[in-house]
């Protein structure tokens, strides 16, 4: 119990100066607008922004539908894009010819600004969530593909020799050596992909949509309700943070050997399992 | 930390570096890197600092270089207390730390560029120094095109370009293979006596320490201290056969002894 309190205390101590500075800056900002020193429509009062946030999340509660729609669009688009990317990357790593003949098309996909495809994708998939998911998938494909392929391609000749000396089959070398070695790079790609997928979802919403945080933001902007617009932007940040930290968590659990604390935890868990006889 | 300027050259036989109870602690006193070392280094002599990890030899070198501040004691170079890096003192590290986007000769000229603007005379001298270390044909090569040993020779030339008369070397050839290291050690001795510099050389190799030096500062760890100064009486120039003589090995045993009891 005291350990948890200690940990909480540690975080509070670290955050406190930041919170104080932030509050100070917001106060100055509020005063500047209130005193009429800043009159640009681009800059609303912090209190107005907070009021909008409160309205959207609490009083009206209208944002939740939009929030989850955009979140879903990004996640589904990511899953599709990542799925295809990883499948193609694995195939490319297993077959030199496949890699060679797929590469030019991947390069073409990479150099083309994916966002240029937005109107076409909307024409293909309609005004609903489908087009957002599609754009998200298209945008996140390449970073994941290239990182996973690079990860799988990197060879450690010493370790491969070791495996062969044990008489390992090609398949075993792949699953027991190549795949784990590729995980760090793959996760780096996945993180980039997830952020890119969110961009895809949001941009597609700008172009044509009825629901989603992007739509909310565009509508508020064009009715010059900057406070709500910024509130929507903050919601996008929140989605981005949720996505990023979920991936961080997954990365930490799966690629556990990169962090000392996690490594010790897994080590202890395995030791216990060993002793219990379930030994992995 | 200010950079100090050159002071008048001392007479041969005079002390150029004097330390009285020089000490250094880290972490607010929790780690004693060096506990009160007192010593004199005479002009033109070659002094080795030898000991296992944690004996404070690198710390002492950095204190003399003015890269870190001492926590206790007095330390003077040419009679002036050490408060920061000075142009009298040049240092060479285990890693060559050359700038990879500069050619060898441009790396050698780096210290001059920092102090003032480079003249034609400086450029000529840089080429001379590269010739002295045997790299005349590699003046316009880049560090990544040179081997480890060659990179260290460029670093040595850079060190000599500063015109410093006190050279501090922290295991400069430690990362190189045995053969290269031996060769470079011999070259170092030759160059240093040619230039007439006072040299301090950190190593964890006892044979190397005795072979190169006039005086050996034997240092022991936990806490880091200067256990003893051992005088090395052999004449110069020295050849590798010296290491086979009984007198040499007696000294090795003596130093081993001092280190062994701690």
């Amino acid at each position: 119990m005291s350990d948890a309190l200690g940990k909480a205390g540690f975080w509070v101590v670290r955050l406190l100066p930041h919170l104080m500075v932030l509050t100070g800056l917001l106060a100055i900002w509020e005063w500047l607008v209130a005193a009429g020193i800043i009159t640009s429509i681009l800059i609303p009062r912090p209190s107005a922004i907070i009021a909008s946030v409160f309205r959207l999340y609490v009083t009206e509660g209208s944002i939740y539908e939009h929030f989850f729609i955009t979140l879903a669009e990004a996640v589904f688009g990511f899953l599709i894009g990542a799925g295809v990317a990883i499948a193609l990357a694995v195939s490319s790593s297993l077959s030199e010819s496949f890699a060679r003949y797929v590469t030019p098309y991947a390069v073409v996909l990479n150099v083309t600004p994916g966002i240029a495809l937005t109107p076409i994708i909307i024409a293909w998939f309609g005004y609903g969530m489908g087009s957002k998911i599609a754009l998200a998938a298209v945008l996140c494909f390449f970073p994941i593909f290239v990182n996973t392929l690079t990860g799988l391609r990197q060879t450690d000749p010493d370790r491969e020799e070791l495996f062969r000396s044990f008489g390992a089959t090609q398949r075993q070398v792949f699953t027991q050596l190549r795949v784990p070695a590729a995980l760090p790079l793959m996760f780096a790609g996945l993180k980039i992909g997830l952020t890119t997928a969110l961009i895809g979802a949001v941009v597609a919403e700008f172009a044509q949509a009825t629901a989603g945080v992007g739509v909310l933001m565009a509508r508020s902007s064009f009715s010059l309700d900057m406070a709500s617009s910024l509130a929507a932007l903050l919601s996008m940040t929140l989605i981005g943070l949720i996505l990023f930290y979920s991936m961080e968590l997954l990365d930490d659990r799966i690629v556990f050997w990169r962090r000392d604390a996690r490594m010790s935890a897994v080590s202890r868990a395995r030791a216990r399992a060993w002793a219990d006889g379930t030994g992995k | 930390m200010q950079t100090m300027t050159r002071s008048e050259s001392a007479m041969p036989g005079a002390s150029v570096i004097e330390g009285r109870h020089v000490g250094k602690t880290f972490g607010g006193g929790s780690v004693i890197a060096l506990e009160g070392a007192s010593f004199d280094v005479t002009k033109g002599s070659f002094v080795s600092l030898v000991g296992p990890s944690g004996c404070g030899k690198s710390t002492l070198l950095r204190l003399i270089a003015g890269l870190i501040d001492r926590t206790s004691g007095q330390l003077t170079v040419h009679g002036v207390p050490v408060t920061g890096p000075h142009t009298d003192v040049g240092m060479m590290f285990q890693r060559a730390t050359l700038l990879e986007w500069r050619t060898a000769v441009e790396n050698v000229l780096l210290p001059i560029e920092i102090q003032r603007s480079v003249t034609a005379a400086d450029k000529a001298r840089a080429m001379e120094l590269l010739a002295m270390v045997g790299l005349k044909d590699f003046a316009f090569s880049f560090p990544s095109q040179l081997s480890g040993g060659m990179q260290q020779r460029v670093a040595l030339a850079r060190l000599l370009q500063t015109g410093a008369d006190i050279l501090l070397l922290d295991e400069p050839f430690g990362a190189l293979d045995e053969f290269t290291r031996e060769r470079l050690n011999l070259e170092l001795m030759r160059i240093v006596s040619e230039v007439g510099a006072t040299t301090l050389f950190v190593t964890h190799n006892i044979l190397e320490a005795i072979f190169l030096a006039d005086e050996v500062m034997v240092m022991t760890p936990r806490p880091g201290r200067l256990a003893r100064m051992v005088h090395v009486p052999f004449a110069r120039p020295r050849t590798p056969e010296l290491t086979l003589t009984p007198e040499f090995n007696a000294l090795v045993a003596e130093v081993r002894d001092i280190l062994g009891t701690h």
Partner: protein
């Protein structure tokens, strides 16, 4: 033995040539299938405009009607203007923040928050506030171009080799000298990587701005063609962007090799000879 090898070599195509042929075969095979499928009515022209139609569109927009040139010029000039402004700002601030530990610590949470936010999402806001037109477009491009150079420069400055920093200190170098002679050169490769990301982001930025403003530029062109279901022309525009993207990619690669010359063999040799030649000629200051 050697004679046999010679004969074999002279007889058939080399490996490289055979591979190029396979590439070409696959490509034209796919295109042929596409064309046939389209003519036979199996492929919906909405999803798969006929290749010959696409070629016809190319001809029209580039030659007969020639309307693409204007729109390309409009979009690309905005891209370069915004890219230069935004990335220079990014590099400058990145270097400044990188050199100052307290500012960096203070800014850290804000940078994390900024990183999680899709910068391009601010487009409607900027357009609504700054009005339709060039100003808001450049503002959007500058915004998307700022982040990658900023983060990369920051990272490059922070991660300077510690031993080299100590070297500069031991030589009595001032902070400015250390910045000029060590920090910036060492950070160049990372900065170049950031610049590459910024330029691609700039292109995306102008497209988003044009999708919303719908006045002119290649983004508007794509939008209009798609609206009118002229998919062949829309595809022609997309492929134009592919070509531009490829040129940018190759251009940045060449620039990278020239500026960060010490990272590749050819660059090292080239500059080495150049410096050897320049040594005798130049009397005074040393290069760099």
């Amino acid at each position: 033995m050697a004679v046999a090898a010679d004969i074999a070599a002279a007889g058939g195509p080399s490996l490289r040539q055979r591979r190029m042929l396979t590439h070409a075969a696959i490509f034209f095979g796919l295109v042929a299938l596409w064309e046939i499928g389209s003519r036979a009515g199996w492929l919906d022209p909405l999803f798969f405009p006929r290749p010959t139609d696409i070629l016809a569109s190319f001809w029209r927009i580039y030659v007969t009607q020639g309307n693409i040139w204007y729109h390309l010029f409009v979009s690309l000039s905005l891209v370069f203007a915004g890219f230069i402004a935004g990335s220079v700002l990014g590099i400058g601030l990145g270097a400044l923040v990188g050199m100052n530990a307290t500012v960096r610590r203070f800014l850290q949470p804000y940078v994390i928050v900024l990183e999680a936010t899709p910068r391009i999402a601010v487009a409607p806001l900027l357009i609504a506030a700054l009005g339709f037109g060039v100003t808001s477009k450049i503002a959007i491009i500058m915004l998307v171009c700022f982040f990658a150079p900023f983060i990369n420069t920051l990272s490059g400055v922070i991660n300077v080799d510690r031993d080299r920093l100590e070297l500069m200190r031991s030589l009595g170098a001032s902070k400015l000298q250390t910045l000029r002679k060590l920090v910036l050169p060492e950070a160049i490769p990372v900065i170049m990587a950031g610049e590459r990301l910024a330029l691609t982001a700039a292109l995306s930025g102008v497209l988003v701005a044009e999708f919303i403003q719908r006045d002119k530029g290649i983004g508007t062109l794509i939008l209009t063609y798609t609206r009118n279901l002229n998919m062949a022309s829309a595809f022609a525009c997309i492929f134009t962007l592919t070509a531009i993207g490829f040129l940018i990619f190759k251009g940045m690669e060449v620039l990278d090799h020239r500026i960060a010359f010490w990272k590749n063999e050819a660059g090292l040799r080239r500059v080495s000879t150049k410096r050897a030649r320049g040594w005798a000629e130049k009397g005074g200051a040393v290069h760099v």
